[in-house]
């Protein structure tokens, strides 16, 4: 956890003046007051670090449960311990504590914020991909691939009907012929296969 006293505040103000305009436009981190100190928390980053630490800890425990021998843990144990220590070190970037009286304001986000349009497109693309993979074994790769490409094209702004229909149709025919016939890799299909 970063602890900043008033003595470093002028230096930080100087740094801020030197920041590019894009960085200066970034929003400040959410902060709360605590007994004369201001605690700023980068919540998304904190959640990511917590998830990484949780997975590393769980994997270490899981490996220990499978076989608690040096042969099994010789690489996993030191690696997991080092990873957990690094997670603790990175907390410094997630939680920053300053004196409440410091005039420079809360620290800013270290990354550019997501624009609302980009955020919507990103989440939509991710959701469509996840949906595609989820329905493929049930609907078959032919139906799922056609629907996925059509839906993503439409979602990303394509409105020409012939492009919306022909693009997924061509990709489906080529991919399914290549994999099922040439590569002899049976894909689960709705038409002519078992979904």
């Amino acid at each position: 956890v970063a602890l900043t006293s008033n003595s470093t505040a002028p230096a930080r103000q100087e740094e801020r003046r030197a920041e590019p305009r894009e960085a200066r436009a970034r929003p400040g981190l959410p902060a709360f007051a605590l007994a004369g100190w201001r605690v700023s928390v980068d919540v998304p980053h904190l959640l990511l670090v917590a998830a990484a630490a949780g997975w590393c800890g769980w994997f270490w425990f899981d490996s220990y449960a499978a076989a608690a021998d040096i042969e099994n843990l010789s690489l996993i144990e030191p690696t997991a311990i080092a990873a957990l220590l690094l997670c603790a070190a990175i907390l410094r970037d997630c939680i920053q504590i300053h004196r409440a009286a410091e005039p420079s304001g809360p620290p800013r986000l270290s990354r550019p914020p997501l624009e609302p349009t980009f955020r919507a497109r990103l989440l939509g693309t991710m959701a469509l991909l996840a949906l595609y993979v989820a329905i493929s074994p049930f609907a078959g790769f032919d139906i799922a691939t056609f629907a996925y490409i059509l839906a993503t094209l439409f979602f990303l702004g394509e409105r020409r009907v012939w492009v919306l229909v022909l693009t997924p149709a061509i990709v489906c025919v080529v991919a399914i012929y290549a994999f099922n016939t040439i590569l002899a890799t049976p894909l689960p299909l709705f038409f002519g296969g078992e979904p």
Partner: protein, 512 residues
């Protein structure tokens, strides 16, 4: 070193019939085309063509397979550069500088660099093989787990060099990958579980698998790499219309591809070092997967401007591609001289050998030296052909930058999902791709270097296996290494590789 009689006999075999030459072009085109699809590998291309192998004579069959391998080794660079999709582990390092160059509108030059480096790497490796196939066979048979462990550790030092802006985040990304690489059933856990099963004790699931049988063999590596690299990048591209935003830079120009090919030779040190490193590392099992990473790491370490690597430095592409290409020569040395496959592709080739009732190894070398030389000479000719065929192929592939991203993104994702399914033969491939796509995007967003995770993932299982076998052989005694001169030399090289930059930094700091 060279058996002149066998060479003449090999020339006679190659010149006496048109049959061995007829298969080169189709083989090369199949190899090139296969790697245009994310998730397809050389071993799959070879396996697909396996049914026609028994109908060919042995030499044309062998040349057909090596032509496919030659084409695939370069083909894998095309999606790596244009789409940031490393179709296999051997093209991971190509993406580091290849895609930034493509985004900057220098895709023509980047592809030219990759093609020339690939041709040079393969040519040098096969020239070396011509002279050294016998000594290489003698050397490779002496490599054991301690040597493999040191090579794996050398590969892991790359994590420190890929750390990005934040050391702790880079190291965490690498260690995370290393742990991911050990998910599943290691040899030791397998023995423990067998013992528990024999005793009738309820068995715990292997580590990290959450009881899922599809993860017993570990996380599917290629779908994970595609997810981490490509999918994460494709997510970021949903805000753009084209890969290259400036319309004036979207041209596909043969002259610029040729300029890239010509300029490759302005970096002779990077080129030769990469090719030599690839040829040596290619001898080792799994070596072809790490040759590109080791070479990239060395190029970056020795560069005067290491900060420019990852930003579109041509030397990054040249180092990765020359090593990747030359690793084929090393792999072929091990296959022909020892009968040991070093990866999936050479394993399939070994199956093709058996279809002709031939077993690779010292006896094969002794009895069919003319065939071995014929394959080597034919591969040298293939390199010249690759320069022409590869140029035409990338000229066509370069038009990818002209396709609108709203069409390209779903097509690439769909092909990657289907390819991942084909690779894993179950839904573990596509699910892995999606999970790692989201993880990769989050890592990029929070400034964690994805490349370090990929290096850890690739080397995790190899390091764990080599460490376990070394421990068992040595009984935990470090002095065991003193009795293995090759291990000591490798260890010395590793320490020099780590120590030199530190010493240089200490010496430079007071001066500056």
């Amino acid at each position: 070193m060279i058996d002149v009689h066998a060479i003449w006999s090999a020339l006679d075999l190659l010149g006496g019939s048109w049959q061995p030459w007829l298969v080169v072009l189709p083989g090369m085109l199949i190899g090139l085309a296969f790697h245009a699809v994310p998730g397809l590998t050389t071993s799959m291309a070879l396996a697909v063509c396996m049914p026609i192998i028994p109908y060919m004579d042995f030499l044309p069959a062998l040349i057909f397979m090596t032509a496919m391998y030659t084409g695939a080794l370069f083909g894998v660079a095309i999606p790596a550069i244009l789409l940031n999709v490393p179709g296999s582990a051997s093209a991971v390092a190509t993406t580091f500088d290849g895609f930034p160059m493509a985004q900057a509108g220098r895709h023509n030059e980047a592809l030219g660099f990759a093609l020339a480096a690939s041709c040079f790497g393969q040519a040098l490796a096969y020239v070396l093989l011509l002279f050294l196939v016998q000594p290489i066979a003698d050397f490779a048979i002496r490599l054991g787990p301690p040597e493999m462990l040191i090579v794996a550790l050398w590969g892991l030092t790359l994590i420190a060099r890929l750390r990005g802006r934040h050391f702790a985040r880079g190291a965490l990304a690498g260690l995370f990958g290393l742990l991911l690489g050990t998910v599943g059933l290691s040899a030791f856990v397998f023995l423990v579980l067998l013992f528990l099963l024999w005793c009738g004790t309820p068995r715990p699931p292997p580590p990290g698998t959450m009881g899922l049988d599809v993860l017993l063999d570990g996380i599917p590596v290629v779908p994970a790499i595609i997810g981490l690299f490509a999918a994460a990048e494709l997510f970021n591209l949903v805000r753009s219309d084209y890969i290259v935003s400036d319309v004036t830079r979207r041209d596909v120009r043969g002259r610029r591809i040729l300029a890239g090919m010509r300029d490759t030779f302005r970096y002779p040190g990077t080129l030769v070092r990469g090719a030599l490193l690839g040829a040596v590392v290619g001898i080792l099992p799994g070596g072809h997967a790490i040759a590109n990473l080791l070479s990239y790491s060395e190029a970056r370490r020795t560069a005067k401007d290491p900060g420019s690597f990852g930003q579109g430095n041509p030397r990054g592409i040249i180092a990765a591609e020359s090593a990747n290409a030359s690793s084929e020569g090393g792999s072929m040395a091990t296959l022909l001289a020892l009968g040991i496959p070093t990866g999936g592709a050479t394993a399939v080739m070994l199956v093709a050998f058996s279809m002709h009732n031939i077993t690779g190894g010292p006896q094969f070398m002794h009895d069919h030296k003319d065939l071995v030389y014929a394959v080597i000479l034919s591969n040298l000719a293939q390199v010249a052909l690759l320069a022409v065929v590869g140029f035409a192929f990338i000229f066509a592939a370069g038009y990818v930058v002209k396709i609108r991203l709203r069409a390209l993104i779903p097509i690439v994702f769909a092909m990657a999902v289907i390819g991942s399914f084909a690779l894993a033969q179950n839904m573990a491939g596509p699910v892995t791709l999606v999970v790692f796509a989201v993880v990769g995007w989050l890592m990029q967003r929070f400034d964690y270097p994805v490349a370090a995770t990929v290096v850890g993932l690739l080397l995790g299982r190899m390091t764990e296996g080599a460490l376990l076998r070394t421990y068992q052989l040595s009984g935990g005694e470090a002095s065991y290494l003193l009795g293995r001169p090759i291990a000591m030399v490798l260890l010395g090289l590793l320490l020099i590789s780590i120590g030199l930059p530190l010493v240089r930094r200490v010496l430079v700091r007071p001066a500056s």
